[in-house]
């Protein structure tokens, strides 16, 4: 089965449930999905055994834009199907896909602590990577998180 037919198959499965559709590069299709319909889409993919959830990418489009995105990448052979869920920066909530894909729990834990996107109903909401004394409500991979410079960090050399 070629990559194109695989992608067509995926679009047939969930195209009607998704909003927009775009092809960012050969072998990939991006589908925009409402948070409320995410589970429906994922369910359709898992029941049809289309690919596996390769990663969940969190994306902060910046404070001006005011949106976060959660990208669910499904891979099958060379085809990559991405479900793009756009979320407001404040009160970003997506339903957890762990009920359908149990192994997503590590990705969701990462998404929650790094971007402050709440995965509703995830079985294990503990932190995965951040230390226990990391302050609540600070999400390091958001664009407005400025990396604190340690006092002893070498300055970039400057030409005079």
């Amino acid at each position: 089965m070629t990559t194109e037919t695989l992608l067509e198959e995926a679009v047939q499965l969930i195209g009607d449930k998704a909003g927009g559709q775009s092809v960012p590069e050969p072998g990939r299709i991006d589908l925009t999905v409402e948070p409320a319909r995410l589970l429906e889409c994922v369910n359709a993919l898992t029941t049809a055994h289309w690919g596996y959830l390769s990663a969940i990418t969190g994306l902060d489009l910046g404070p001006q834009d005011g949106h976060l995105e959660a990208l669910y990448h499904f891979c099958q052979k060379a085809a990559v199907l991405t479900l793009r869920v756009s979320l407001p920066r404040d009160g970003a909530v997506v339903p957890s896909v762990c009920g359908l894909i149990p192994s997503a729990t590590l990705f969701e834990r990462e998404l929650m602590e790094m971007f402050g996107i709440v995965c509703e109903g995830t079985p294990d909401p503990r932190r995965l990577f951040l230390s226990d004394d990391w302050p609540q409500g600070v999400y390091p991979l958001r664009k407005d998180f400025i990396v604190p410079v340690p006092a002893n960090r070498p300055e970039k050399g400057t030409a005079e």
Partner: protein
């Protein structure tokens, strides 16, 4: 065990534990010697590489991401370079691509031989451990003479590679591979035939084809369970279309099958390297790469030694990456451990853990470690919620 309120006997493994060469924290609830549930906590070696990449320019980020993992460093640097080159509309010359592929396969030999040793050590088979690491030095020496370093080869630049493969390097590669192949046949014979070792590997950590599919595991782990999933074959990159490898699979899905799959993959690797060395395309080593990369996003995937490596790179047209998402194969495979150990003997846990060739430094790439507790503003932490441990338990 009399009632439902039996107190759980939890064996913590890590963050410091002799079985783990890198820090991570596992909690295994045991009933006698049998594991009843497991949970995991990472983050002890966070370096904030994803955030760090956003604060560096495209070329600097290459070297940062090369340091995600010490063993598959070339895989990380190649997958990033391929993604960024695709975004920028630049393509590395064929000779550079072939050299990248040679290095990737050499690195696979390095990684898998290291794994054979580590897994043998977990099984208390130190002789196999010592021998396989001794022979691994051969491939380390090849890599050293090729790129100047044993690890973190720094062979890639955006738009090509730094080091050419001359006749001296070709000779050292070919003679080194002859020796390695001989040794690998010997190790394959040992892991297939040694009765005491088979006692520790056969039927341990078995993952059926269906489970492997459902858990979305990748790499040699899933190929040992009979799932055909190898990006070198499924989605050929670099020169894999012209110099293909055969996918190695096994059906048993246990630790022994993983040994066999990994070692047999190395025969494919040596064959592939020989073919590339003998038919190395002529031409330039690198092309000029722009400072700014045009806006866009790309998914870059290659087959690292431990499984499919996934990068999502987004550019906003500036000198720095907008977002680099790193999803390492170990993270994808960890669920197979957490689910897979339940019902096994505690003595097998290190073996099952080692079976996926976990790389904790790969997992822990994402976060800046800094403590803001000094002004007392830190919240009362989550140590309480950590007490309810098991998210996965068989009734």
């Amino acid at each position: 065990m009399t009632g439902p309120h039996v107190e759980k006997f939890i064996v913590p493994i890590g963050p410091q534990h002799p079985a783990l060469k890198e820090p991570a924290h596992f909690e295994f609830s045991v009933d006698g010697e049998t594991v009843t549930s497991a949970s995991v906590r990472f983050g002890y070696v966070h370096r904030g590489l994803e955030k760090g990449a956003e604060n560096r320019n495209w070329a600097q980020a290459l070297y940062l991401l090369e340091r995600v993992c010490g063993i598959c460093s070339h895989a990380h640097s190649t997958v990033y370079a391929l993604g960024v080159e695709r975004l920028a509309g630049v393509s590395a010359p064929p000779r550079a691509q072939a050299i990248r592929q040679i290095l990737l396969e050499l690195e696979r030999i390095h990684s898998h031989m290291l794994w054979v040793g580590v897994a043998a050590h977990e099984a208390g088979y130190d002789t196999l451990f010592m021998y396989s690491w001794r022979d691994r030095e051969t491939v380390m020496d090849i890599l050293e003479s090729f790129t100047g370093n044993r690890v973190n080869y720094s062979a890639n630049v955006l738009g090509g590679v730094k080091y050419d493969l001359g006749p001296a390097q070709a000779d050292s590669i070919l003679s080194g591979l002859d020796y390695l192949e001989k040794r690998l046949h010997y190790y394959l014979n040992v892991v297939n035939n040694d009765e005491s070792f088979l006692g520790r590997t056969r039927g341990v950590g078995t993952m059926t084809t269906e489970e492997a599919e459902n858990l979305g595991a990748i790499g040699p782990v899933v190929r040992a369970s009979g799932v055909h999933r190898d990006l070198r074959v499924d989605a050929p990159y670099l020169m894999y279309a012209d110099f293909p490898v055969t996918m190695i699979t096994a059906t048993a899905g246990d630790l022994q099958a993983r040994f066999v799959v990994r070692i047999q993959e190395l025969f494919e690797s040596t064959r592939n390297i020989r073919a590339l060395v003998e038919h190395l395309p002529e031409g330039e080593l690198s092309v000029r790469f722009p400072r700014k990369v045009r806006a866009g996003e790309t998914v870059s995937r290659i087959e690292a030694p431990r499984g499919g490596l996934f990068y999502f790179i987004k550019s906003d047209g500036s000198e720095n990456p907008f977002r680099v998402k790193v999803r390492t194969p170990s993270l994808r495979n960890f669920m197979s451990v957490i689910v897979g150990v339940v019902g096994h003997q505690l003595a097998d846990v290190p073996m099952i853990l080692a079976g996926i060739d976990p790389c904790f430094s790969c997992n822990d790439r994402t976060v800046i470690v800094h403590r803001e507790g000094s002004d007392g503003s830190a919240p009362p932490s989550e140590s309480d919620s950590r007490k309810d441990s098991s998210s996965w338990s068989k009734p």
